[in-house]
């Protein structure tokens, strides 16, 4: 059995009266990409910063690589790599120089050229840090976390604000880290990122973990079903009520979301048939009917009853 590199139990962190983390529990197995998914303000950054020793916890137990960050921070700092934000420590240092500087902090750092090619900044290696674009700074920050060659890498929203191509590139970097046997803990507020990248994940909402497991397991647990999405236009409330009551569901589920009605069903053919029948009977037109697999977004909607909003972008 793979050992756990992170064990968190009943972790609580308050800021004055605000419960930023309200008793969270999770474990991270060695060698996986572990995601913490949640909307902004859910407590993701607080979790990372408490795990890496920047905050003191108010309650609970933390074990990172077998160490308690409050007791053995010095030891822990040598074994992990952490990306918190864009690096602006020395804005006039060249990319290769700041990588060299960070490499000097660690006993067995990665080769600079190796990191440069992974983060795709070879042709920017002689640029000043402050002259980099936002996305490039972000990749450099990830590079600075990687260079530690630590067995555990923390990435706090590594792809926020990146364009689609840069995001894909960074995903590959993260997958490479995993291929090298490292464990990656990342936070994200992108559902698709968590779904495509993570082996295991927890969904954090308002300082609480509301679901955990692999993306497939989560979707399976909550939705073996397929999703039928209908456009809301032309559907009045009484007809919606009829859909709710009269359409065939095996495991009845009906949700509404910005302009759409969502029907979840594990017997999609029967549900569809009865839906069209209903429309026929009442001479209604159904617009823009889409049938798709459930996503993490559906999971979030189902658990919280709130739509998952991506406020950061």
């Amino acid at each position: 059995m793979a050992e756990n590199v992170i064990d968190i139990s009943n972790l609580k962190k308050y800021f004055a009266e605000v419960k930023a983390l309200d008793g969270i529990n999770f474990s991270v197995k060695k060698g996986i990409i572990f995601g913490m998914l949640g909307p902004n303000g859910a407590g993701k950054t607080t979790t990372i910063e408490t795990m890496t020793g920047l905050y003191q916890r108010d309650e609970g137990e933390i074990s990172i690589l077998g160490l308690d960050p409050e007791r053995s921070l010095k030891m822990l700092q040598k074994k992990m790599g952490v990306q918190l934000q864009s690096p602006s420590l020395f804005p006039r240092l060249k990319v290769v120089e700041i990588l060299n500087l960070f490499a000097s902090f660690y006993q067995n750092p990665l080769k600079i050229s190796n990191v440069l090619s992974q983060i795709g900044l070879q042709n920017k290696k002689d640029s000043w840090v402050k002259k980099l674009s936002g996305g490039q700074k972000h990749r450099l920050a990830v590079g600075l976390a990687m260079i530690s060659n630590g067995e555990l890498i923390f990435l706090d929203e590594p792809t926020t604000g990146l364009d689609p191509q840069a995001r894909q590139d960074l995903w590959n970097v993260i997958r490479n880290l995993k291929a090298e046997g490292k464990t990656v803990f990342l936070t994200t507020h992108y559902m698709d990122e968590a779904q495509k990248l993570c082996d295991d994940l927890v969904i954090l909402d308002k300082g609480k973990i509301i679901a955990n497991g692999s993306p497939e397991k989560l979707i399976n647990d909550y939705f073996k079903d397929r999703v039928i999405e209908l456009e809301d236009m032309g559907l009045n409330n009484s007809f919606k009520e009829r859909i709710k009551k009269e359409v065939f569901y095996n495991r009845l589920s009906f949700e509404e979301k910005k302009g759409h009605v969502l029907l979840y069903s594990d017997q999609i053919d029967k549900t569809l048939k009865s839906l069209f029948q209903l429309a026929d009977n009442y001479e209604r037109e159904l617009n823009d009917v889409v049938i798709r697999k459930a996503t993490l977004e559906d999971v979030f909607l189902k658990i919280t009853g709130r739509e998952y909003r991506d406020e950061a972008v």
Partner: protein, 358 residues
């Protein structure tokens, strides 16, 4: 140690590549030396004062006095009648008028030598008068053959030509050190406010390494500024540097430590770059004027004197003037150094007490 070296090198690169930062640290003191140098010295690079000379007699001694005055390169002597010269003084064409009666060989009488000067040019006049006194005392000693009686060493006879710029040059250095100490602390304030210092908490780099490499770098800058200011003053404006450079370095380091510590103390009370700037300005500005680094403070009203006596820059100025150009201050060197060290100690204790890394 290896970490310290790496961070220190990074700090140096960062500094050398920061053009506006370099301007303040290097070009600014240099420009100051030039501007003050050009204002307070003549074209020859020698300060010269226009002095009206009124001779009421033409004895041998009178002639000797005239020759001695004419020989002095700092003096631009204009001869005339008392009326002409006093008029010229009132019109601002003379710094000072000296009226010398007929002086005979009667060594038992006393001769009054009258000196008239513009009250507004008190500082300048005092410098000229002290030079004049040297000239007259040397003539007097020769006449009365008192040299051995008072055991006055021969070098005291050389009247030292003190110019305003001699006074100002150490002041420029003191100002540079003040700026370096106070404004230099913004570098750390900036890192702190951006959360970068906090973020370093996830790496094995200790935050104190960042801070100590900053301090070392600023001490080195202080020494570079010293060399620049001293040699520019010496070569371009002929300031007579009397002290040895090592002593100057010693005082500079003591002063720099004092102001670096003060700078860090001030930013402990700041919660943003803006408030930091405000606090530092409030401290720095009055200090520049009240510490007498650019003009003597003897003429300040007496109620300000306690403030002047409390300011560390007063003592840095005094100490630098003494070791650089040999202008003795009312405060002894020992006292200057002790007070600077006391300031360092007190600000350091307060800095440690109120320090925030984040």
């Amino acid at each position: 140690m290896k970490l310290f070296k790496e961070v220190f090198i990074a700090n140096i690169k960062e500094l050398l590549r920061d053009k506006s930062g370099m301007f303040w640290l290097v070009a600014f003191p240099v420009i100051f030396v030039f501007i003050f140098g050009l204002i307070f010295t003549g074209n020859t690079g020698q300060q010269s004062y226009t002095i009206g000379l009124v001779l009421e007699g033409s004895s041998v001694i009178n002639n000797n006095i005239e020759k001695a005055l004419l020989k002095n390169p700092s003096f631009n002597i204009r001869k005339g009648s008392q009326e002409e010269e006093v008029n010229a003084l009132q019109e601002g064409k003379r710094e000072l008028v000296i009226i010398i009666p007929e002086i005979g060989f009667d060594l038992n009488s006393q001769y009054d030598i009258q000196i008239l000067y513009n009250r507004d040019l008190n500082g300048t006049a005092n410098i000229i008068i002290s030079s004049l006194k040297e000239i007259f005392y040397s003539i007097e000693r020769r006449l009365t053959e008192q040299t051995e009686l008072f055991n006055i060493r021969p070098e005291a006879i050389q009247a030292k030509t003190l110019s305003d710029f001699d006074y100002i040059l150490p002041g420029i250095l003191a100002m540079a050190i003040l700026q370096l100490g106070l404004f230099g602390s913004f570098q750390f304030l900036n890192l702190r406010e951006k959360g970068i210092i906090r973020g370093l908490g996830v790496t094995p780099l200790s935050r104190s390494v960042i801070l100590s490499s900053e301090i070392l770098m600023r001490l080195i800058i202080a020494l570079i500024q010293t060399i620049l200011i001293v040699f520019l003053g010496k070569w371009l404006f002929d300031v007579q540097i009397t002290g040895n450079l090592l002593q100057v370095f010693g005082i500079v380091i003591i002063g720099a430590l004092s102001f670096i510590s003060l700078g860090y103390m001030l930013i402990t009370f700041a919660d943003s770059m803006e408030s930091g700037r405000g606090i530092v300005q409030v401290v720095q500005f009055p200090m520049l004027f009240l510490s007498g680094i650019f003009f003597p403070v003897e003429f300040f009203p007496s109620y300000i004197k306690p403030i002047i006596k409390a300011l560390p820059l007063t003592y840095l100025g005094n100490a630098l003037r003494e070791v650089m150009v040999g202008i003795p201050a009312q405060t002894t060197m020992q006292r200057n150094i002790i007070i600077l060290l006391l300031w360092t100690l007190v600000t350091l204790v307060l800095t440690i007490k109120f320090w925030k890394w984040e």
